[in-house]
């Protein structure tokens, strides 16, 4: 944030030394080694497929969340959009609607809800955390009222392909690559960093801040709906309570991945690695038959470690300039 210019230039010149994601990458490798030694059967293809499926939903949610947080915003409504889109978009499934009707409908609902978020955030000019806290309630409420809390089951097998085998993970990888490209190599991506760095300067340098913000929340909405489709494919039914608490997991993945909650700094790759690390550790603990009750402890400590590391780096560089 308040880095001296020389240091910024230096950061640009030596990409490997300042590879922000390096610590978390090493941590993942370390965890893999530890788990493969400690847990017999951890290093099996089936196990990795399992873990990859668990990572996919939160991983995809964390992509949209990364964009929102990079603009110094946040999207608390991702879990609610997920359940809204699949519960209401999937209402035609018992009447025999096919994926060609349901999938566009679900994604379209996600887009609309995301656009609503974006419009409210930019037009009402209220912090994103408040707006999305509100819409999180509203979307969840509407979902529960319309569906009366009922599950949709059974789901025809055509809806399950997306959740089988490596498919979820491949979709996640595709999303990650797409958004790495967008954030690093397009004007849109660079401007998102600019908005998060200083919204006022972005306005003064002619960035259409309002439009970009709306786009960010719309993207987050579509990705939430998409994650919902994978969720349905994995679980085999549609439940209106789906996605409760997912926003916190997605935020955790983003923060563990080194993205600053203040905006303007961070990366898609980091968030991807963050969700991989979380998924890996949770899977490992489950295989070590640690009670699932203690999972939150691990997530919490990971978050603290990740942000402390960032802060130490910041404090050290502050001291160096003094």
């Amino acid at each position: 944030m308040n880095m001296p210019l020389e240091q910024k230039i230096q950061e640009k010149r030596s990409p490997l030394r300042n590879f922000r994601e390096l610590p978390i990458f090493l941590f993942i490798v370390g965890m893999l080694i530890v788990f493969s030694i400690v847990i017999p059967g951890f290093l099996s293809a089936r196990n990795f497929v399992n873990i990859s499926r668990q990572i996919a939903v939160v991983g995809i949610l964390s992509m949209g969340m990364t964009l929102a947080i990079l603009t110094a915003g946040i999207d608390l409504s991702v879990g609610s959009i997920l359940s809204f889109a699949i519960s209401i978009g999937g209402m035609g499934i018992p009447d025999g609607r096919t994926i060609w009707v349901v999938y566009p409908l679900v994604l379209g609902l996600g887009l609309i809800l995301g656009l609503v978020n974006g419009f409210l955030i930019t037009r009402v000019a209220v912090p994103a955390i408040i707006i999305t806290l509100g819409t999180m309630n509203i979307y969840r409420g509407i979902t529960m009222i319309v569906t009366q809390g009922r599950y949709i089951t059974p789901i025809p097998s055509q809806f399950l392909y997306i959740g089988r085998g490596l498919t979820p993970f491949l979709f996640l990888l595709g999303t990650v690559i797409l958004f790495i490209y967008i954030t690093l190599f397009t004007r849109f991506g660079r401007n998102i960093y600019a908005i998060g760095g200083s919204e006022q300067s972005a306005v003064y340098s002619g960035v259409p801040v309002q439009k970009y913000k709306i786009a960010v929340y719309a993207i987050s909405g579509v990705l939430s709906a998409f994650a919902g489709l994978i969720f349905v494919g994995r679980s085999g039914f549609i439940q209106p309570q789906a996605g409760i608490g997912y926003e916190m997991n997605a935020i955790a993945a983003v923060v563990i991945g080194g993205t600053s909650i203040a905006g303007g700094a961070g990366s898609i790759l980091g968030s991807f690695l963050g969700s991989v690390l979380m998924g890996l550790i949770l899977a490992g603990l489950t295989m070590l038959s640690v009670d699932p009750y203690w999972q939150g402890l691990v997530t919490g400590i990971l978050i603290i470690l990740a942000i402390s590391m960032d802060s130490f780096r910041q404090l050290r560089s502050d001291r160096r300039t003094l």
């Binding site: 009222i145 009670d291 997530t299």
Partner: protein, 327 residues
């Protein structure tokens, strides 16, 4: 609070909202305006009201505390667990309160020493503490408490439930603290502009420690009230409270960016929330209407200026654009 000020106006709006809800519900439901029903509403809002007091103080200082509901859960757990271990009960209560304050201190240490964002720190401590509650309780509930302790939940003083009176006393003390003491005013100053507060000689760090430890203490008290009300300690206590409390507090006119807010406003927000819940259940409506109404209310109350500008049209587009940028 001066008449005509923004604070005064938002409290006035909230009083009107509450009166409106009461009027509509008493027309729609014959059982709404009975002593028993209102008594149960007041009793039920006590612990969430306490959490709202804590969150209001944190918000005024420019902070954020997601761990309120979890501190509430863990303090009840400490009291219950220590009593089972055979400690004298007053010591259990003391330990529960100290536990809450320790959790607040932990939040403050991370926020002050490492200069971390309160939202993320308290997200992490929320996750950690909740996991401890789950791990210790393992889906069970604790209901071994002294009878005299639990009986205080049925106590009424001057026709008002004891639990509600505790809330009122805390609210009065907190209001006095914020409005009339030196430290209280400093909390507003830090939330208004941390840099200028620092430059005018306020020990910003000390204020932050005070705020989070105080928040932990109040949440611990809320945990005790909750265990009295439901006569047990449950693992999911306060799971949704951050959401409900933040909504109520923000509806009550407290700025999420810090520097302004009142306890009275927050409690009126909590009251509206509970009246709505009560009304929806009396009318046999889907309880999830409450979520929709609350969400709409939240967005409306916070964004009413922005909304009216947006409704007036593009004439003001440029202006909002600029003001949004400045924020």
């Amino acid at each position: 609070m001066k008449p005509g000020s923004e604070q005064f106006r938002s409290i006035l709006i909230l009083i009107l909202v509450n009166v409106g809800i009461i009027l509509v519900l008493s027309f729609l439901s014959p059982t709404f305006l009975t002593y028993e029903n209102l008594l149960s509403v007041l009793k039920r809002m006590s612990e969430l009201g306490m959490l709202a007091i804590a969150e209001t103080i944190v918000f005024i200082s420019g902070g954020f505390d997601l761990s309120i509901g979890t501190i509430m859960a863990i303090s009840g757990l400490i009291a219950g667990q220590m009593y089972i271990l055979g400690l004298p009960f007053f010591l259990c209560i003391l330990l529960a309160l100290l536990g809450g304050m320790a959790a607040g201190l932990m939040n403050a240490l991370f926020i002050v020493k490492l200069r971390l964002q309160p939202f993320i720190v308290t997200l992490a401590t929320m996750s950690i503490l909740r996991s401890i509650v789950y791990g210790v309780l393992r889906g069970k509930t604790l209901s071994h408490f002294p009878e005299s302790y639990l009986a205080s939940g049925d106590l009424t003083i001057l026709g008002l439930p004891f639990l509600f009176i505790v809330l009122v006393i805390f609210a009065l003390l907190a209001t006095l603290f914020l409005q009339r003491t030196y430290v209280g005013r400093q909390i507003y100053a830090v939330g208004g502009n941390e840099r200028s507060a620092y430059l005018s000689g306020i020990s910003v760090n000390r204020i932050k420690y005070t705020v989070y430890i105080l928040s932990g203490f109040i949440c611990a008290c809320a945990g005790l009230l909750f265990s009295i009300r439901i006569r047990a300690v449950i693992p999911d206590a306060g799971l949704n409270s951050p959401l409900e409390v933040v909504t109520a507090v923000v509806i009550g006119g407290t700025a999420i960016t810090g520097g302004k807010g009142t306890i009275a406003g927050s409690l009126l927000g909590v009251l509206a929330l509970f009246l709505l819940t009560n009304g929806f259940s009396l009318l046999n409506l889907n309880p999830f209407w409450q979520l929709v109404v609350l969400g709409l209310l939240l967005i409306y109350v916070v964004g009413r200026e922005g909304i009216s500008k947006a409704l007036v049209g593009k004439r003001l587009k440029k202006k909002t654009h600029q003001s949004a940028a400045i924020k």
